[in-house]
């Protein structure tokens, strides 16, 4: 009970700030008489959200679906590549420049290519989400595996451990905190990827819905879409950050101690 209270108290300032921003926004719109075609009030946006929910949720579902599928593939590919690259110095040196090159391409630029290959719709959104979230996972997993202490590797090798033994018993657990930290980043990026792809080439999804709403100057609806995106993004982030804390608590004991004391 005390811990719960302490945690609530720790969260209080950030919660107050978020609420404060919305209140200030509402008051500013009312005070300066800003038209809802420029910037609708939060209360209007929430009203629109509730009002139009039956029409909105299929779009929200579509965006969530493409994000999760793209993210899933991204994680799979990212982990496999990360393990391969992290386990060998040669693979690391060989593949790293290429990866940096690919990752530095703005991902919006590849959407037209995906559309060209697969047509508009779900596939380009999934692929964009995937490609955008692969890189942070690869880099983090590879770093975690490649930075095993040389002494520990010596100890394992004198035990006649195979490369696979070392990877399984030392490399992978060691990379876990890096991996889960990168998941938080990756899920947010995957979200950006699928929304960008929907905006450019799709007939469903929040991104597409926002494009249509803005072309008909339905600004509250555009903002409603933004709120849904924010809500989904924060929820996914929280889920993965909770998983991270559960699975790799050993790497975070210092911050945990700081909270309880």
């Amino acid at each position: 009970m005390d811990r719960l209270l302490a945690r609530l108290r720790a969260k209080a300032p950030s919660t107050a700030l978020i609420l404060g921003v919305f209140v200030a926004w509402e008051l500013a719109c009312l005070g300066f008489g800003i038209s809802d075609i420029v910037l609708p009030r939060p209360s209007q946006i929430v009203a629109t959200l509730v009002d139009r929910w039956p029409a909105l949720w299929p779009h929200a579902y579509q965006t969530l679906y493409t994000t999760i599928v793209g993210f899933g593939w991204g994680v799979l590919i990212g982990v496999v590549l990360g393990v391969l690259i992290g386990s060998s110095r040669l693979a690391f040196d060989t593949a790293y420049p290429l990866l940096v090159g690919i990752s530095s391409i703005p991902k919006v630029a590849v959407v037209p290519i995906f559309v060209l290959w697969f047509g508009a719709g779900t596939v380009p959104a999934v692929l964009t989400a995937m490609i955008i979230c692969v890189f942070p996972i690869v880099v983090n997993v590879a770093t975690g595996i490649a930075t095993v202490e040389p002494e520990l590797e010596d100890v394992m090798r004198t035990l006649k451990a195979s490369k696979l033994d070392i990877l399984w018993n030392v490399g992978l657990p060691r990379a876990a905190p890096y991996f889960f930290a990168s998941l938080k980043v990756a899920i947010t990026l995957a979200f950006v990827g699928s929304v960008v792809a929907e905006t450019v080439a799709s007939n469903r999804g929040i991104g597409n819905m926002m494009m249509i709403a803005s072309s008909s100057f339905n600004v509250p609806l555009v903002f409603a879409g933004l709120f849904i995106l924010a809500g989904l993004g924060v929820t996914l982030y929280l889920i993965f950050s909770a998983i991270e804390r559960r699975v790799t608590g050993w790497a975070h004991r210092k911050t945990e101690l700081a909270v309880t004391t």
Binding site: D154, V155, T158, L159, N169, A176, T248, W250, A251
Partner: protein, 285 residues
Amino acid sequence: MTAAAALRVSPPPAREAAPPRPLIELDRVSVTFGRGEAAVSALAETTLKAAVGDFIALVGPSGCGKSTILRLVSGLLAPSSGNVFVAGREIGANPVRIGMAYQNPTLLPWLTVRQNVMLPLKIVQPFRAAWRRKKRGEYRERAEALLRQVGLAGFGDKYPWQLSGGMMQRTNLCRALIHEPDLLLLDEPFGALDQFTREELWATMQDLWMTKRTTVLLVTHDLREAGYLANRICVMSARPGRILEDSDVAFPRPRTMDLLYTPDFVALTQRLRALIMGVRTAATL
């Protein structure tokens, strides 16, 4: 010394009854790192033999190739010339079980102390084959027994970060011994500890050695440590390293801290110190 302690004095070490081939044999081994102009000779024509049950301390100025010898014996490094035999076979091919402990305890932070100690059982045959069946029962007991022996009873469920430096190093020793190695390689294991903790660990180490009689190669900078723990002390020259002197340490066991202040012991450490200082100045001239 009490009567009980006197009874525990070891029988003469197994050297007399040693098999014709020693456990470790370095035959005119040289190690050179790099090539051409940049080549650094780390070890030159070193010959060393260790019988089963020996406790050998390697001392010498820093950079003289002490750790290189450990890496040769453990098979982590191949000699540039000469031969390294362990249990009569070339390194790599030998069936000898080796335990190793460094100054850095390198415990795995996601495992408990007991799980850390049990790690070699998960990797080394024949324990590995039975890992699934025995990890909860017999192996766990074995780890607990070892932890008890080094004074860590009741710490099995703690995590490494909850331990002090000395306790981590005790755990590290347990991890190096759990699979009953034929050969224990120690590379300055007590180097990072404070004086009192270090002396406590010497006593623990002696106790472990007296019960297990594992062959030990200990690399150290501390001459008192070498004198207290070892049966033989090998003094090495500055780079490229060679063995200058190989002397037996005959003090009876179990040795106590009081021994360190006896004239004989002081004379021994002084002599070793003079030897090493001599090769150090020779190298810098």
